[in-house]
Subunit: 329 residues, 2 copies
């Protein structure tokens, strides 16, 4: 395969090319056990350490904004990695001329999200670049959490017949940002952007059979499931009729001709758990969100992600081939 | 004072307005003991946690580049805070169309700097924004270190008559980047960008009388000394003839009409230490860099930063009033 000389948008968007760029440019050079897991956060001793950058466009969208996103994004990366979130670092880059009122609104939002997630912002950085050298505001956060004892999220623990659970309806964040950007629709869809702390940490404590968790952000559940398949060499099978999807999200996706499996969530997790514990775990989840669901299972007889359609047919769900929605987070 | 409605470049550059913006927008909202110290890194129990963003322009400059800078910058923030650097998170934002070769060159540079500083890159993020929405590449890093037992860098420990030491000649990084950007001079000046780990950590272990350290980056030693004065309510007095300055740096500053006290270093530290230990500490430092020097002292009879000139006169050294050199790091 010829690698293009210039970096393209799709290489940052949860596509197969972004997966390959991360492997070829970064992992090849920095290889170490923690990084090589390519999980959402690094487990180092009793700590979990995570980071993320946020370049979402627009910076304000229904029910949320780049400030909340920057806290919940990193908090959730810790939570899916069995880390109880504690401390956050916050690095902000703004474009010259950015409104002070908007900056204060975002700072208020960060404050509320931090309180809501039980984290403390202990260190930070603030930089300004010339007009036209950045798009309004970019935020990078890192998070430190303490690991739930004897728990870890690791692809290597996944085995045949494990169940795959999603904690709630998918694709809400992606479609929310997309509609807010296009301004072509009358209706708005709220993002699912929220902290997963109170949902996931109790699960980690109770269920030792949890193998792996990931929050399906860029590239949607398609990217997350393909990463599971690639890293384990096993197949993933999901059932279309079981994947929870809000009606308004489904309608918007149909109008726009977008597959919701490629759209980001920012307040949901995929959980891979031993089959015997799946129903109990689901019952716990449903007390919080009645639309949590077992959507499929791991299948050793395949090495791809397969969707069983409502009509009983099967289709392969690959990473997105096209660019879906850039700058969703 | 009327606060302008739009954020200006100088608010990101180690000026008094940047100090005020950080207090009024962020500190006011996120107030907590670790953050309120406004030190280069947060001390949380046995850990030290730090973050920084890098937007330097140009991204390659004599002897260094944005990759090295992003590692050394965060490593040095840990070191001045008595933290032995261990783990780094790396978040990269590039502009669509950025050269893959340049990205690999920067990744090589990050790898070398990490090895040289004894840190491991354990987690990361990579995003791409549309052409024209960022200037080539921005990097954010966070770092975790373990605290040297019973040591901390705290303005509250600083007292009258404490000595102020600098670990080597100042302003090299600032002038290096400035010349590389302007392309108006034939000669090049190498940046001092380097890891301070092997210089500072042994000092922390040996000298309990170290009160405070800071690496004088944005805003130069003028900003760092003014922050010391502001946070302690004490005066700072330095002696022009004692401040080490390379001849070529001095010449370039004179030609450009720039005060080197406002220019960034990226491989130097200011150390505030009890007077009785200053000479011994300096001797240790000079074995590494013969130009390390005691440049002044804390003075309770003032609440400003004063420079005693070569002619014996005195002048007040304030934060920079003008914008010096934006995007120096």
């Amino acid at each position: 395969m010829v690698v293009p000389e210039k970096i393209s948008l799709r290489e940052g968007e949860g596509t197969r090319s972004s997966y390959e760029l991360i492997r070829n440019v970064f992992l090849k050079r920095f290889s170490n056990p923690a990084l090589n897991e390519l999980s959402d956060a690094a487990a180092i001793g009793d700590l979990v350490f995570s980071c993320d950058s946020f370049t979402v466009d627009p910076i304000f969208f229904p029910s949320s904004d780049i400030g909340k996103l920057s806290i919940y994004g990193t908090v959730n990366d810790l939570c899916v990695s069995a880390g109880e979130p504690l401390y956050i670092s916050l690095a902000v880059i703004v474009e010259e001329g950015f409104g002070r009122g908007d900056l204060e609104r975002i700072a208020d939002s960060i404050k509320a999200a931090a309180r809501d997630s039980g984290v403390t912002i202990v260190t930070g950085d603030f930089k300004v670049v010339e007009k036209g050298k950045a798009d309004k505001i970019f935020i990078s956060t890192s998070g430190i959490g303490t690991r739930v004892p004897r728990r870890s999220s690791a692809g290597s623990k996944i085995t045949h017949n494990d169940s795959i659970i999603v904690t709630g309806p998918i694709a809400e964040h992606g479609i929310s940002v997309m509609l807010a950007r296009k301004k072509i629709f009358e209706f708005k869809i709220t993002s699912d952007c929220q902290s997963l702390r109170s949902t996931l940490i109790p699960l980690w404590k109770r269920f030792s059979a949890i193998r792996f968790m990931r929050d399906p952000t860029r590239g949607g559940i398609a990217a997350s499931l393909n990463e599971i398949s690639l890293s384990t060499g096993l197949g993933v099978r999901i059932y279309e009729e079981k994947v929870p999807l809000r009606k308004d999200v489904n309608a918007a996706c149909e109008i726009l001709g977008i597959d919701p499996y490629y759209l980001a969530s920012e307040g949901r997790a995929l959980i891979v758990v031993g089959r015997n514990d799946a129903t109990t775990l689901l019952r716990v989840l449903r007390a919080k969100n009645p639309r949590a669901a077992i959507i499929g299972e791991i299948d050793k007889h395949s090495n791809a992600v397969t969707v069983v359609t409502r009509s009983g047919g099967e289709r392969i769900l690959d990473f997105s081939r096209a660019l879906n929605v850039p700058r969703i987070c």
